[in-house]
Symmetry: C2
DNA sequence: GCGAGTGATGACAGAAGCTGTCGTCACCGA
DNA sequence: TCGGTGACGACAGCTTCTGTCATCACTCGC
């Protein structure tokens, strides 16, 4: 095996994504992933806790990014506006868009990967709630605001992805629009 | 092995929950569960797709219950009120409360089980959205309303569980209160 | 009653996921 | 130049999950 090539983690991620696309998630063995990255199966598990985790490396960074953005919002801002302001700033999207799309396709097609994605989302959700707590917002309010914020974020992102866009242009507007739509649904009693 | 005892599925569920409590989820093997239920490991997999699934047998019934309740709401009712009305009626809670509490404790302590719980929730969420769609509600509105409704349901349930209660008394009120709190957070821009 | 069909089960084999352990080798600092 | 450190390979082994086939209990039609 060719050792010390560097970039080990990224090599494994790329190999895994490619193989999942080529032959499907469940018909791909960890040994195959490792082999394509010039490693052994055992080494794969030194970089990732399990086979699913190889597609979720950026989760931690995203969480940090969001929390940092929240901390940068002017004090005294209400909970939901705080989250929306943070969302508008944060998405510098670390990974190339193409990678994210390929990744999303693979995840959507495989229940085990969807499960992992959901728990990553919950983890981020809990981090957001905690960040709001640190700003003096009450627990239940923080929790509700997080639910609302993530709902808005998803709708805005879906609409955003459906159109042609460059950079982050227009994303804050998409957030505002989605927030207004949510409010309309909430008040149409 | 003692065959044909009947109630096989339930025997496996009870054995699994007990063992998870006694020695933890990951230190319990499927073979042990099967043995306590007077079965072999292979038979376990004839009743449940995998080790996690043994704790989520009632998920399908709950989904059906909710969807049925939605269909019973008067036509023309807005999306969110429809969901809340359905939630207020549906929780006849099939399983004994004690079982649900033990189950919740085990799930909360084990990430693999949390993952499974999340995807079950998403499945129910999708069913709710579809049920709203069938009532002529637009896709995005249905989705937003489902997000809102589940957020309200969770808050109401948490508060509900924290107090002393008999039957379903007061649960509709808890839903109303939670909905009002959500609205307050949504509008406090 | 009695034989064929049906369904649940046991027994066995085996692939793949995941972990523990130990020795090896490249790199780094003193 | 030498010992420490960290990444890696090589095994061994347990567990999860699946495929396959024989067996046994129950049912239904005759």
């Amino acid at each position: 095996m060719a050792r010390w090539e560097g970039n080990t983690r990224n090599r494994l991620e790329q190999a895994a994504l490619a193989l999942f696309e080529e032959q499907g998630y469940d018909r791909t063995t960890v040994a195959q992933i490792a082999q394509r990255a010039n490693l052994t199966e055992r080494s794969f598990y030194r970089w990732f806790a399990d086979k699913r985790e190889v597609l979720f490396g950026g989760s931690q960074e995203l969480e940090t990014e969001f929390v940092t953005a929240i901390d940068a919002v002017p004090p005294g801002t209400p909970a939901l506006p705080t989250l929306l302001a943070a969302f508008a700033t944060a998405p510098r999207v670390f990974r190339p868009r193409e990678f994210l799309l390929r990744r999303a396709t693979v995840i959507a097609a495989n229940p085990p990967l969807r499960e992992r994605e959901l728990i990553k989302l919950v983890t981020i959700s809990e981090a957001l709630t905690t960040a709001l707590l640190d700003r003096g917002i009450g627990p239940e309010t923080a929790r509700l605001a997080t639910d609302l914020g993530l709902s808005v974020l998803r709708l805005a992102t879906e609409r955003w992805m459906a159109e042609e866009h460059r950079d982050g242009k227009g994303f804050p507007e998409a957030l505002s629009t989605a927030a207004a739509d949510l409010l309309a649904v909430a008040t149409s009693a």
